[in-house]
Amino acid sequence: MTAAVPFAQPEVRHEGHLKVTGQARYTGDHYPDGVLHVACLASPTPHATITRIETRAARETAGVHAVLTGADIGDVRFGRHLRDLPVLATDRVRFIGQRVAAVAAETREAAEEAVRLIEVDYDDLPPVFDPRQALTSDAPVLHPEAAGYLTMRGGTRELLEHLNLQGDLLTGHDPEEMERAFEAADRVFEHTFRTPRQHQGYIEPHGALVWFEGEVCHVISTNKAPFTLRSHMAAVTGHPAEKIDVYNRFIGGDFGGKGFSIDEFVCFYLARATGRPVRSVMSYVEELSGAGPRHAAEITLRTGVTRTGVFVAHSADVVFDGGAYAAGKAAADLVPHGGLDTMSAYAVPATRHRLRTVYTNSVPGGHMRAPGEVQAVFAGETHVDLIAEELGLDPLELRRRNLRGADRVADGAATVAEEVLSRAAAGVDWTATRSPGRGVGIAVYRRKGGAGRGGVVLRALDADRFEVVTGAADQGSGTVTMIARVAAAALGVDESCIEVIQQPTAVAMFDQGAGASRVTRVLGAATLLAATDLRKMLAEAPRFPIEVAREAEAPRAEDSHAFGAVSVEVEVDVETGQITVLSAVLVADTGTVINPLSHRGQLEGGFAFGLGAALMEELPVEDGQVLAGSLGDYKLPTAPDMPPLTVVNVGDTEGTGPFGAKPVGEFGNLGVAPAIGNAVARATGVRLRQLPLSAEAVYRAVTEARPQE
């Protein structure tokens, strides 16, 4: 089936013309008549009760139409799963940057001026910033009322052993089994790793435009899951879901962050209070201090190994700094699940993981491209290198001996995992002799993903004109073009015959939204179903117009997985600590590729995303204050930072997506940091167990490792 599919021809993005000419309209590009601009007052203190709010001067400011506080809208809370974050604080603030009041005014300047005139008295409470400390018995409790918090599914939350725990997930073998498994090991290795908060760094900040037409609430926003946003807005505000219409079309970057809505709720109340369209676009200061960055983590790994280098037991204790609210996490157990993937590429017979997320008085954590997994793969793949070092084994060989699926080779052929690993090693000439200060490093992983549900309507207008209607918002990955190409291939028509139309939630079929690398697997599958059925119907009895609606569901992320590996050669200047990545190879176990340019773009862009996280990105927080105030302080990779990169697609294993496609969205970034860290260790003998691998960190470690004179 796959051979006949015309996906080899590189795609021209259907929306590309709009993007290169500046005509693509994003949320912030809408300025309807009478629009009001929003500014919010943020808490300046990490933990306090609010004793007084005075808004009179703000309300009297010229151009101001509404000033709202928690007293006006009540204790209304939202969150992707747990509704613990107030739209506006009522009696208490729990992080610097938490919204306390909101203003809608004729101009942004007037709104900001009014915000400056709001007076708030705070009575400071003792803060807690360290997650381990927050779990002690005498730590200040951030949410004494947690038992009453609702979830988006309607129930209340499960109470855990400490009130400061957001989530506590235990999986794997029971402690007795683990103890026996570790006893069978010849050696047991334990290492602890730390990873910082990092920001998604999309160039388009969060934003929303909300207006009412009669009872119908219209929303255009940066949220990548319009149907989920609709149900959340209904649950939070009490406005009926059928009277909320969300139309999110172009999204200026996501990387996990755009599933978390913030502005939509405050805009709802301001639009209702003023009767005007209300527009809120976050400043980058607000982004960095309150939009749900990647969780900082402390990860302790323990692995039992036989004399011959076979892993027999592995346990992980992962503590994520959840920040002041759990609202940014979508999963019901309120932990970044990727934390389970500390040994994702390996077959280990006994494993046990404990993932905890802890309330602290810092910016709430959210999702960022492979949440939890980035942290876990850095720790795991550094741990494996450390084990190799201590056993005196080649780190490549230790990995080979333990790869998942290695025991299933019957005829001596390499498994996909082996091929991925070998191609990465060969790509940097693994065994070559190198001059001092240079070294190679490698990391391998297995990524799962793509679960979800969504549907499309496919309409035949005549024999060579088809429309596909979807409610999907495209955050840049090429959804519209993917749908068109799948439809064209399944209908047996040219791609130019297909028009994909993005429609609001009131018109389109349900779609779970972009996230978890699901769009191609789910919406591609729905499109394939619709096109296959429509083709059959047209073959039997051609008549126009005719339409079919089909839905697809991918129940389990585990059903779809792909191996990946990254290898790099680095040069380290020991006088300055500067790391130069001389070359890099990213190997992906790829199924059928539907959009070749976008697929390559996801891998290259994923690599760049991983490079930033590895070398430069850290959202520093001191006593609850985020210290990066702009994209000048929070440094993202630029064009000259990018090393020569070779992308290798291997394997003709079929994925579970349409025509055998595999997810690729949260893939290219996973192995970059450990590969670079491992290369630095081989180049210098210095091992870093935290990110980022900055020049300062390398310099410090090299200096400390030098013999004292």
Binding site: R13, V20, Q475, G601, P637, A639
Partner: protein
């Protein structure tokens, strides 16, 4: 609050426009809010990301940093002014489309404007010159590889056309 208003006359994409506004307002806000030219994007608001790149008298500038009062009598080109009047894409725009040099597209107008400025100044750049020049335009999606390819392809195409 925003001071007294002035009348500013500026040529934008070949058309003379007159705006009455506070001269202190950033050009970016005037383009987007007063003139309806939303192709120029606001990202960082502090001149770091390059999403608001425009040409002022042919010079590459960040529209978020320039007060509109400085534009009186000058000539501005935004992304909307790059294609020909009949809609034909410029060499840079066409190369971005063919090379897939964008994903979400929010930085693309700025990238395209910056690349246009580079090729005006340096019609045959090396890959390294492209990377250095484009340093002021952040892209979080692509990793820049396809952007560099597109700029080089546009340069080659422009040279062929003019040869």
């Amino acid at each position: 609050m925003s001071g007294s208003h002035e009348t500013i006359t500026v040529t934008v994409n070949g058309l003379q426009r007159r705006v009455v506004t506070s001269p202190a307002r950033p050009v970016l806000d005037v383009l987007r809010e007063d003139l309806g030219l939303t192709g120029t994007k606001e990202g960082c608001s502090v001149g770091v990301c390059g999403a608001c790149s425009i040409l002022i008298d042919g010079q590459l500038m960040s529209a978020c940093l320039v007060p509109v009062g400085e534009l009186d009598g000058r000539d501005v080109t935004t992304v909307e002014g790059l294609a020909s009047e009949d809609g034909e894409l410029s060499a840079v725009q066409g190369a971005f489309l063919r090379c897939g040099a964008f994903q979400c597209g929010i930085c693309t107008p700025g990238q395209v404007v910056a690349a246009t400025a580079l090729l005006a100044e340096c019609p045959a750049p090396t890959p390294e010159q492209v990377r250095e020049w484009m340093m002021g335009n952040l892209c979080r999606c692509t990793g820049y590889y396809s952007i560099v390819s597109a700029v080089l392809e546009a340069a080659a195409e422009a040279r062929e056309t003019s040869a």
